[in-house]
């Protein structure tokens, strides 16, 4: 394994881990990444995948249209369970949207160089996941044509929204997060768009990428502004990573439903979000690196690091489950203790145990390096984590509602076909956007990768060419 030219996971403290393998130079990096968009013939697999996902997307919009015409009753909701899959899906997708910004912003500020080859992809995923997430709260309201009343927009009733409602906080939290993530992602892509513009041969591509590159010339002034902006956005995005899911968790924590009303939710939700986000990044990245030959950039070392984060956040999630149970007993609130007994042993025990097996047991396997570096095995793990994290939201939302204070109103939630198809459709939308990005966008941050390559480090000033520098380099070096 050590002799595998693409395995850079060996720990050798005497030299830094190589983050780009395969003897790439700056030129070959640019060629490799931009050829995916500009030169290479689109693989047949892409067309098949795209046909499939866009079909699912069409189903999503058909379901939404049906919903709009008929009413929220097309879903399986009932009187105690007024929130079902729509809210589960919302929390699930928002959670997935956490990985991108965490990788780009927090790891950037923490100077984790390995982030450079996965950050672009993860950021894109964040945006797409937030798009998917944003659909659900919008369509789940009873009178969808009035959903704009949630925003503090002047209206004929001359009314503000209710600032005490966590749903309103959601609007601001998710809105801010989506905006900042989008800006951050786009800002990072500007130099790469310029590269694509310069290499593009067809008129359409030149115009499209030229527009997106907003006049980037690679001048020092541009780079200076760019790096400042990137740093500021990273600083702005970092607290949002923590805040958005905390606010989402307030939807539950501030309500008085037993099983929702607990103060552990904000950290527990954030950990869960990072956990699920990394699993989803992995789920998408493994096939992408396989099909587009990006193993030299997204190396085993990267995957190994991601798995370590999954292990850490997964353990936090497991610990949170245990704490919840402990507090339910220790808190002495009979309704809350029943809510937890009911989760584990009531009618939804099946969902609870799926959640526990996927979220608590699965990540613990990542203690073993062999598993952390085995690509097929980790892919399966990612799938499990994705399933487990969806069920976590299902368990929290549905089991708590289905049996609250008065036993007379207890009921069981059964999803309808519409519920299932809408959820499946949201995956369609997500992967359609991912596929479009792979096909038309710079899926690796070319400019950034170059900064972590040995070429950027070990030579004199004459070799430093404009446009290949990225601000992740220690100050001392330039003064030599």
């Amino acid at each position: 394994m050590v002799n595998d030219p693409l395995n850079n996971t060996a720990d050798d403290p005497t030299k830094p881990t190589e983050l780009v393998l395969g003897g790439h130079t700056f030129t070959t990096v640019t060629e490799k990444v931009s050829d995916i968009v500009l030169e290479r013939k689109t693989p047949r697999a892409w067309y098949i995948a795209f046909a499939f996902t866009s079909g699912l997307t069409a189903i999503l919009f058909a379901m939404i249209a049906y919903l709009f015409v008929t009413g929220v009753g097309v879903w399986g909701l009932n009187n105690p369970v007024s929130w079902g899959w729509a809210i589960v899906n919302f929390v699930f997708w928002v959670g997935i949207g956490h990985a991108g910004t965490l990788i780009s912003a927090i790891l950037f500020l923490l100077r984790q160089k390995w982030r450079t080859s996965i950050n672009r992809f993860a950021e894109a995923m964040t945006i797409f996941a937030v798009i998917c997430a944003g659909i659900f709260p919008g369509i789940h309201v009873g009178r969808v044509w009035l959903v704009w009343w949630l925003f503090p927009i002047p209206n004929y009733q001359a009314m503000w929204p209710n600032f005490r409602s966590p749903l309103l906080w959601d609007v601001f939290a998710v809105g801010t997060y989506a905006t900042v993530s989008l800006l951050f992602w786009y800002t990072g892509m500007v130099p790469d768009f310029a590269t694509l513009r310069d290499r593009a041969k067809s008129k359409i591509q030149q115009i499209a990428y030229g527009t997106l590159a907003i006049g980037w010339t690679g001048s020092h002034r541009h780079w200076h502004r760019y790096e400042k902006a990137y740093l500021l956005l990273a600083g702005l995005a970092t607290p949002l990573v923590l805040s958005v899911h905390s606010v989402v968790s307030f939807d539950f924590a501030t309500a008085q439903v037993p099983g929702w009303h607990t103060s552990i939710f904000p950290p527990y939700f954030v950990a869960g979000a990072v956990f699920s986000g990394f699993a989803m990044v992995g789920t998408c990245m493994i096939p992408a690196r396989q099909w587009f030959g990006l193993k030299e950039f997204i190396t085993l070392h990267h995957l190994d690091n991601m798995n370590k984060i999954i292990l850490a956040t997964g353990s936090i999630v497991g610990f949170a489950y245990a704490t919840e149970f402990f507090i339910a007993w220790y808190g002495g609130n009979p309704n809350e203790s029943f809510a937890f007994v009911n989760r584990a042993f009531g009618p939804y025990a099946w969902a609870y145990w799926i959640m526990v097996s996927c979220n608590v047991i699965t990540p613990q396997l990542f203690w073993f390096k062999k598993i952390r570096t085995n690509v097929p095995v980790m892919f399966v793990m990612y799938i499990f984590v994705n399933i487990g994290m969806w069920f976590e939201r299902f368990v929290i939302t549905v089991t708590s509602l289905s049996r609250d204070f008065l036993p007379s109103s207890w009921d069981y939630f059964d999803p309808t076909l519409i519920d299932v198809l809408t959820f499946a459709g949201s995956f369609g939308l997500f992967f359609t956007l991912v596929l479009l990005f792979i096909r038309f966008g710079p899926i690796l941050a070319m400019a950034e990768i170059k900064t972590v390559m040995p070429d950027a480090e070990a030579h004199d000033d004459s070799h430093r060419s404009v446009g290949d520098y990225h601000g992740d380099v220690p100050e001392t070096r330039g003064d030599k």
């Binding site: 009873g142 929204p161 059964d414």
Partner: protein, 1001 residues
């Protein structure tokens, strides 16, 4: 139709409203089905009827039309559009007659309430009377005369009626349902005289024949038993369901509630022996699940114990037989007998209509021996008309002795016992069927004539205490029907009369003005007017008498059903009664008070039998008795007698309309002439199919941990205690439920200085009769969503009755708790709504602003009582123009995607406010009664101002028994509950194991 030719103005309205000629003209004018006045009530036609009706009411103030008088119960000066007015009339069903007030809004009746001046209603009503207004607007009502299935007209039928004169002797027969109407009775007598040898037959599937026969045996005369439960200290009910199935059930409930006042220490005691839970059983201090077929033995054993151990003398009861049966009762009979003997003159024993006449006679003897006559029970002898039975009728038909059969209402082709093939027999004569709908019988009849609804025609009725009741129309016949008296008039009068004439003549002779209506007699007109205005003829009620029991009682037997020989018990349904309300969506969606079942009937079995047979909830089973078989689903009900299977009547009607189609299973197939209320010999067989039942509580089978949690939680939710416990510790309710640290609010709490509305619900006297649910349904335009939606848990009721069982599932205690929006002062729903669509008013009402609501449903999630209802779809989309007429214009019809809930009947609060402002005063206690409290027979729901220290609700708030539901959440609900106090017999309490320890928490 109208004979009133000198009133031109009226005549044109009459045409507008409905006349056959006018209809013809209209058809000629708009050929090709434009506006289809016959087959559909179009907007145009609706406007015509409305204008006629409005004009009708307007006319009252200025003239006195000979025919169409509609006096007001509350008379405004002239007619004010948009002002609801109430008219007194009477609702009759089977043997039950209730004096009611019908609310009319711009000429259309929208709500039925009890007539507060009528002694047997006292302002209360039952579910059937309240729901009956919906039948008026049923889209499936018959709209035309049918001759052999083809469209015909009333004139054609009247022409045909002329041939009756040539009928041979004995060639005419009339079949009627139970009717108390004096005018119908007179007409039937006239008919018998005019057509020699003709005979009147009667068929009513739910009847009191055994009770009547028992009375004949005891007293030698038919009697109407008059009860006064307010005087009873001990009541023993043997499958009688005295609080619901008796013709004076409303009065019984009121009397029972009066005798149950824990504050004064005045507590009666109720023992119930029954095979299946009834509301009376739910109220019992001691309930003994007993097979219906074994009740006979229990009654005998009780009588024997009274005679041998308590020195009660019953000379008319066979001593030998008493001795033989003494040991047959259950272990507590001795204690019950002692209790009865201690309360001589203040006790009451009632036996169900399913028990044989002999047992009713025995019951009469026991009541006499206990000195209850003249106190809790008295008898009203009456003229029982001599009608033949439907069995005799079929025999006559089969023998070819009947040429023409006139069927007045009902559906005998559907609702006769399976061993009477009425459908086939009726084909042997020319049949005329008067019916509101084209039902199974109408389809077979040669002539079908649409019948008027009772709110469309004149009539009269006789209440159980002999009161002469008036029935008056509120609206012209929507679909041009005819009243019973009008069709009978074709037979008995040379010149056919209208229902108005018949009713007036009937009143005339009753009030002592002779047989002919005196012309220009102001005294008569005044009396008539008073009669119609009040809804009854004051002073016509008769007092019950003491009657000596003379007939002897000597036989009785004990049949014990077992696994191979199950007991079948056939009872009327709480929703569709005997089937007549099959198309009434309000009743269909009203949960049965005990099973919480809607839209269906099921075979109710005991948990023990379920274990023995392996038949589970919602399993389809084959029921067979005497070779007759049906398949229906199983419902497992705690507290059902072990081998007793109860089925409800009235479902599975193939001819039902759009509402009732496909609803339930026809259990008449199991009924036989000799066993109308069931018998032993039933076989139950699993057939391996499943069926979905739409149940509003316990939608799904509860797992063990859930069931254990319910048992743990309920004592804190529905707080109850024994009278001794209450006397020893008057504050015992405060120690129940979840204990919490001191409760503080997150917000600065609002002070309520003006009115502060609150509602008290007294669980001690709430019987769970569902009347409040129906009151709310019709007052607040609650949507009906249908079986599928109910089984998804999406029923829309603003007020629900939570029913819990406590203890042993074979012999549980049952509790009922009405739950509506509690209008919490610290409402959790308000904080979470992102658009502030639910807010507090200055008076503390938690209001829903429908036009602000976007439907996030967060409020519903955060409501711990789960009283909020969401409009998942546009629930009013499929309503026809006719059906929409029943909607209360004072209550907004909620749109799709909007949350709704109980408003404390804010429209009633506002109209009381307007009235008080006009009169320049404050709103007084009692000015406002929400629809639920208004209709409650036991006054268990009290509404008022909590800031008024003298209001009834404030006094209840201060009472020791009052408590807040889920008080540890610090919601400050405005609906609060009064703990239920039971009064068990200490001698039995010691013996029964299931009673101990449920109040431990």
């Amino acid at each position: 139709m109208s004979e009133n030719k000198n009133n031109k103005h009226w005549r044109s309205l009459e045409q507008l409203a409905d006349s056959d000629k006018f209809r013809e003209q209209l058809e000629n004018e708009f050929p090709g089905g434009i506006d289809t006045p016959v087959s559909g009530l179009s907007r145009r036609r609706f406007m015509q009827i409305m204008s006629a009706s409005v004009a009708m009411t307007t006319l009252v103030g200025c003239r006195w039309p000979e025919e169409k008088i509609v006096p007001f119960a509350k008379r405004p000066e002239g007619f004010k559009p948009g002002t609801p007015v109430q008219f007194a009339t009477a609702f009759e069903m089977g043997h039950n007659v209730l004096g009611v007030l019908a609310t009319s809004y711009d000429g259309r009746p929208i709500k039925i309430e009890g007539n507060p001046d009528f002694a047997l209603s006292n302002g209360a009503t039952n579910t059937f009377a309240q729901a009956s207004v919906l039948n008026l607007y049923d889209s499936d009502r018959s709209r035309e005369v049918l001759h052999d299935g083809n469209s015909a007209s009333w004139d054609e039928f009247a022409e045909y009626a002329k041939t009756f004169k040539g009928l041979k002797k004995g060639g005419l027969a009339v079949l009627t349902g139970a009717t108390t109407s004096p005018s119908v009775k007179t007409q039937l007598q006239k008919l018998s005289k005019r057509y020699k040898g003709s005979k009147v037959y009667k068929w009513e599937p739910v009847c009191r024949a055994n009770e009547m026969q028992g009375a004949m045996q005891s007293f030698g005369t038919p009697v109407k038993t008059q009860l006064d439960l307010s005087k009873a200290k001990v009541v023993v009910d043997f499958n009688a369901n005295t609080l619901q199935d008796h013709p004076t059930a409303l009065q019984n409930s009121k009397g029972f509630a009066k005798g149950r006042d824990p504050e004064s220490g005045h507590m009666n005691r109720l023992y119930v022996f029954e095979n299946s839970f009834t509301i009376t059983g739910g109220m019992a201090d001691h309930r003994f699940p007993t097979h219906a077929s074994e009740i006979e033995a229990e009654v005998w054993a009780l009588a024997a114990d009274l005679v041998f151990n308590n020195g009660i003398n019953m000379p008319t009861v066979d001593r030998h037989h008493l001795k033989k049966n003494h040991h047959l009762g259950n272990e507590h009979i001795g204690a019950i007998a002692k209790d009865l003997a201690h309360n001589k003159g203040h006790s009451l024993i009632q036996v169900g209509t399913d028990q044989p006449a002999e047992i009713h006679a025995l019951c009469n003897a026991m009541n006499e021996a206990l000195g209850n006559q003249g106190s809790t029970i008295s008898y009203l002898p009456f003229d029982k008309p001599e009608f033949g039975t439907v069995k005799e009728l079929t025999a006559e038909l089969d023998a070819g002795n009947i040429n023409t059969l006139l069927i007045l209402g009902g559906d005998p082709a559907y609702n006769t016992p399976a061993d009477i093939n009425f459908a086939e027999s009726m084909s042997k004569a020319t049949t005329i069927h008067l019916s509101e709908k084209v039902n199974a019988t109408s389809k077979l009849a040669n002539w079908h004539v649409p019948q008027t609804h009772y709110l469309e025609s004149w009539g009269d009725a006789m209440a159980w205490d002999g009161t002469w009741m008036s029935v008056q129309p509120l609206i012209e016949p929507l679909f041009g029907g005819k009243a019973v008296t009008e069709i009978l008039s074709l037979f008995v009068n040379r010149k056919p009369k209208t229902s108005f004439d018949v009713a007036r003549e009937s009143f005339c002779s009753m009030a002592g003005f002779g047989r002919r209506i005196p012309k220009d007699n102001p005294v008569f007109e005044k009396k008539w007017r008073e009669y119609v205005h009040a809804g009854f003829y004051a002073g016509s009620n008769q007092a019950g008498q003491k009657l000596a029991v003379t007939g002897t009682v000597k036989t009785g037997k004990r049949i014990s059903p077992d696994a191979g020989n199950l007991e079948l018990s056939i009872v009327r349904d709480q929703s569709v009664y005997d089937g007549r309300f099959i198309d009434n969506a309000w009743l269909q969606e009203m949960p049965d008070f005990m099973t919480k079942l809607t839209w269906d009937n099921a075979a109710i079995i005991s948990p023990a039998l379920s274990k023995e047979t392996g038949l589970k909830h919602e399993d389809m089973a084959k029921l067979s008795i005497d070779g007759r078989t049906i398949e229906m689903p199983i419902y497992v009900l705690p507290g059902q007698a072990h081998y007793s299977v109860t089925v409800n009547l009235g479902y599975g009607q193939e001819s039902a309309g759009a509402v009732g189609k496909g609803s339930g299973f026809n259990t008449y197939q199991l009924m036989s002439w000799g066993a109308l209320s069931g018998a032993t010999g039933l076989q139950l067989e699993k057939i391996g199919k499943k069926y979905t039942l739409a149940i509003t509580q316990d939608h799904h089978a509860i797992d063990e941990s859930g069931a254990a949690e319910i048992q743990k939680r309920v004592p804190g939710l529905v707080r109850e205690g024994d009278i001794e416990q209450y006397k020893n510790d008057p504050h015992f309710v405060d120690h129940m439920g979840v204990h919490s640290p001191p409760l503080n609010s997150l917000w600065k709490e609002k002070e309520y200085t003006g009115y502060k509305w609150g509602m008290a619900v007294d669980l001690s006297v709430c019987t769970g009769c569902n009347a409040c649910l129906m009151g709310c349904q019709s007052e607040n335009n609650i949507a009906v969503v249908g079986k599928d939606e109910v089984s998804r848990g999406r029923e829309m009721a603003w007020l629900r009755l939570d029913r819990y069982f406590l203890g042993d599932e074979d012999d549980p205690k049952c509790t009922q708790q009405p739950i509506n929006c509690a209008q919490c002062e610290l409402a959790p729903c308000e904080e979470v709504c992102p658009v502030a669509a639910t807010m507090h008013t200055e008076e503390g009402l938690n209001t829903m602003v429908y036009n602000r609501c976007v439907g996030t449903r967060y409020c519903s999630n955060n409501c711990p009582y789960k009283v909020r209802r969401f409009n998942w779809f546009n629930n009013f989309e499929d309503m026809t123009e006719t059906q929409k007429l029943v909607l209360n214009p004072e209550v907004t019809v909620r749109a799709r995607g909007v949350m709704e809930k109980c408003t404390f009947c804010v429209q009633r609060i506002e109209s009381a406010r307007i009235e008080s402002r006009v009169e320049g005063r404050d709103i007084r206690d009692g000015d406002i009664t929400p629809a639920c409290g208004q209709t409650c027979p036991t006054d268990a729901i009290v509404f008022g101002d909590l800031n008024d220290k003298d209001s009834r609700v404030s006094k209840l708030r201060e009472a020791n028994r009052s408590y807040d539901l889920l008080n540890y959440l610090n919601l400050k609900p405005r609906t609060f509950y009064m703990a239920r106090i039971r009064n068990p017999n200490p001698e039995i309490e010691g013996l029964a194991s299931s009673d101990s320890g449920h109040n431990e928490h």
